[in-house]
């Protein structure tokens, strides 16, 4: 994304709390109407970054631009952003209606117009009959929607969401994910979404910035992050990944051949990056990119022979762990449980692992 089309531009931002560096030279651009996620474990700096967008924290150095305007001199109540707090921060002394209309005071609207806008919002969040309820009579999911409505009624340029689904149970969370995505498409506002839940980030986002220790490890689309992680940290944070230590044997225009522990020689497409002969690397493969069979697979596939250590049946899929010679930890394989291609081998039996060339990713050895 080019600088010009960036709607939010974070440029060389650092943040210190005392001597602790919460944000370490972060730069990124977020486009207009994008659903953008900041993903990372707790303490990685994602919430700090969000709070800096809202104006509750100021960068120690660097600058944040929203819609072309530098934000460092703009206090929170003057910024064109609104936030949905992790705790929702619903005003407990006001009813739902007054909560949603809270930010409208300054617009000095006639009462009828105000009511109309609130009704519209109540309709949008699918709580049309809840206007007169007190905040403490609402469930977690309902509060979350009120918090959304309260922010969206002001038509912000950016909506900031701080783990808004974290407090909900699994079923409600999945439902809210869908609704959130749909809502974002309807209103067309830029969403910046903070979460530690990688699945949630993958489901919702247009792009994701994976953060750790105040830095951005990788900024990419969900499939980019999953299929082509740039580092071992990203690869293991998102989903499950098998890693094989290895060394580049040959690299040319047609492909890169890696001698990987346990797998033997694996050749991947040349587009996998610039590697030279002799580089120590990690070869990474997702469990579902590996196939398991009782008999030797057809030619044209990479293959390795191993022992089935254990198998876990999970309903729609099974997880297998296969021990390969020369590898300490077993290789994880995930397979759909279809009626054909059932695996006959029992635990302790011999099996074949196979994969396509494009299944493997080469990562720098850290």
């Amino acid at each position: 994304m080019s600088r010009e089309s960036a709607f939010i531009s974070i440029q060389n931002v650092e943040k210190y709390f005392g001597s602790f560096r919460a944000i370490d030279n972060v730069s990124m651009d977020i486009g207009h109407g994008e659903f953008f996620s900041l993903l990372g474990a707790s303490g990685c700096g994602k919430t700090t970054l969000l709070r800096m967008l809202a104006g509750f924290e100021n960068p120690s150095s660097g600058e944040i631009f929203i819609d072309g305007q530098p934000m460092s001199e703009v206090p929170p109540h003057m910024r064109p952003v609104n936030m949905v707090f992790q705790s929702y921060a619903i005003f407990p002394h006001l009813n739902v209606r007054d909560n949603i209309a809270y930010g409208l005071r300054k617009q000095k609207l006639p009462k009828a117009k105000r009511n109309e806008m609130v009704d519209e919002m109540l309709e949008l969040i699918k709580l049309p009959d809840y206007g007169d309820r007190k905040a403490n009579e609402l469930s977690g999911g309902q509060r979350q929607r009120i918090a959304l409505a309260r922010a969206l009624i002001l038509r912000p340029k950016v909506l900031l969401l701080d783990e808004p689904l974290g407090a909900l149970d699994k079923q409600l969370r999945e439902q809210m994910q869908l609704e959130l995505r749909q809502l974002q498409r309807t209103v067309g506002i830029t969403f910046v979404f903070v979460t530690h839940d990688q699945e949630e980030a993958l489901t919702l986002s247009d792009r994701i910035a994976v953060m750790a220790q105040g830095r951005v490890l990788q900024l990419d689309s969900p499939s980019g992050l999953y299929e082509r992680p740039k580092s071992r940290d990203v690869a293991s944070f998102i989903g499950t990944m098998n890693f094989f230590e290895g060394r580049v044997k040959q690299a040319n225009g047609t492909g890169i051949t890696v001698e990987a522990q346990g797998l033997g020689q694996v050749t991947v497409p040349a587009s996998e990056g610039n590697w030279a002969k002799g580089d120590t690397v990690h070869l990474a493969m997702r469990p579902e990119k590996l196939a398991l069979s009782d008999e030797e697979p057809e030619t044209g596939m990479g293959r390795a022979r191993g022992t089935l250590q254990n198998a876990a049946y999970l309903g729609e899929r099974s997880h297998y762990f296969v021990k390969l010679d020369g590898l300490e930890s077993p290789v994880a394989v995930s397979a759909q449980n279809r009626f054909d291609g059932e695996l006959l081998a029992s635990e302790g039996g011999d099996v074949w692992l196979s994969w396509r060339d494009s299944a493997a990713v080469i990562l720098p050895a850290s």
């Binding site: 206090p75 936030m83 992790q86 005003f91 407990p92 002394h93 403490n136 922010a151 002001l154």
Partner: protein, 273 residues
């Protein structure tokens, strides 16, 4: 048979202790109303018959009404001023990262434990050095010093009881500091404010030692009572007056506590939901 954990088991000695504690605390106080209805000048058993004449006598004295009015004026002003200061102090203590917060808080709370006679003497010395004549104003200044810690002590839990992100949400929705305080903070700490007003009023209303040092020509109610003690024939009226003060103070303090705890309960219920 069910064996109950000692944590839940009713503890007889502890119950007995509680009862004795309450008796020691309040029985002496109960003698005041008892003898205030006694038809005799002298405080002694046996009681000689029921009368309300000491009360009626009380209501007919202008001096009582003047002293009462003085105390109410001082009490109300002190309550309002110390509660306003208390709100700001409690907000600062709970919301901002202050260097040396711990020592500052203990320092503010110190008047609760320093003997009042020391404050009384110190203020008297200071005021006479400055040439300030003693009046109800000087009494109020003295009372402010002892009421502020009470106010802060009541208000700090109210501020701690609600999530700071609620104030942030208000800022985020476009309100500046003043409007956030008016629309969110004050309603949230409202019960604490009411409770603080009541408590500080009571403290000031009942206070004697500082008033003793700092009163000018207009006595507060406790000062009036003190003055009356010299006249034996006035003693039953003093008992009547004291009884009224005790009852009123009890009502105000309990009301304040009840409002505050009711709100705390509601806040907790809301947190759980």
């Amino acid at each position: 048979m069910r064996v109950e954990s000692y944590i839940r088991k009713p503890n007889r000695p502890l119950q007995l202790y509680a009862v004795i504690f309450l008796i020691v605390l309040y029985v002496p106080v109960l003698f005041l109303p008892l003898f205030s209805f006694n038809d005799s000048l002298y405080v002694r058993f046996p009681l000689e018959g029921f009368t309300t004449r000491w009360y009626i006598d009380l209501f007919q004295r202008d001096a009582v009404w003047n002293a009462l009015w003085n105390s109410v004026r001082v009490g109300a002003s002190v309550a309002v001023i110390s509660t306003i200061f208390g709100i700001f102090a409690a907000k600062a203590i709970t919301r901002y990262r202050l260097p040396g917060k711990g020592p500052i808080v203990s320092f503010i709370m110190l008047p609760l434990v320093v003997p009042l006679i020391i404050f009384g003497v110190a203020l008297l010395v200071l005021l006479s050095q400055l040439g300030v004549p003693l009046s109800l104003y000087t009494v109020a200044i003295g009372h402010l010093i002892i009421c502020l810690p009470f106010s802060i002590a009541v208000l700090i839990p109210r501020f701690e009881g609600f999530d700071a992100s609620i104030e942030e949400a208000s800022a985020d929705l476009g309100e500046n500091a003043w409007w956030t305080f008016w629309r969110v903070t004050l309603p949230m700490v409202g019960p604490g404010v009411l409770s603080s007003l009541m408590l500080t009023f009571t403290v000031s209303f009942d206070e004697f030692i500082l008033a003793f040092f700092l009163t000018g020509t207009q006595p507060t109610l406790p000062m009036y009572i003190w003055g009356q003690l010299r006249f034996p024939q006035e003693f039953p009226s003093v008992l009547a007056l004291s009884s009224l003060i005790i009852v009123t103070s009890f009502i105000i303090v309990f009301l304040g506590q009840w409002i505050n705890s009711g709100a705390t309960f509601a806040a907790n219920k809301e947190k759980k939901a």
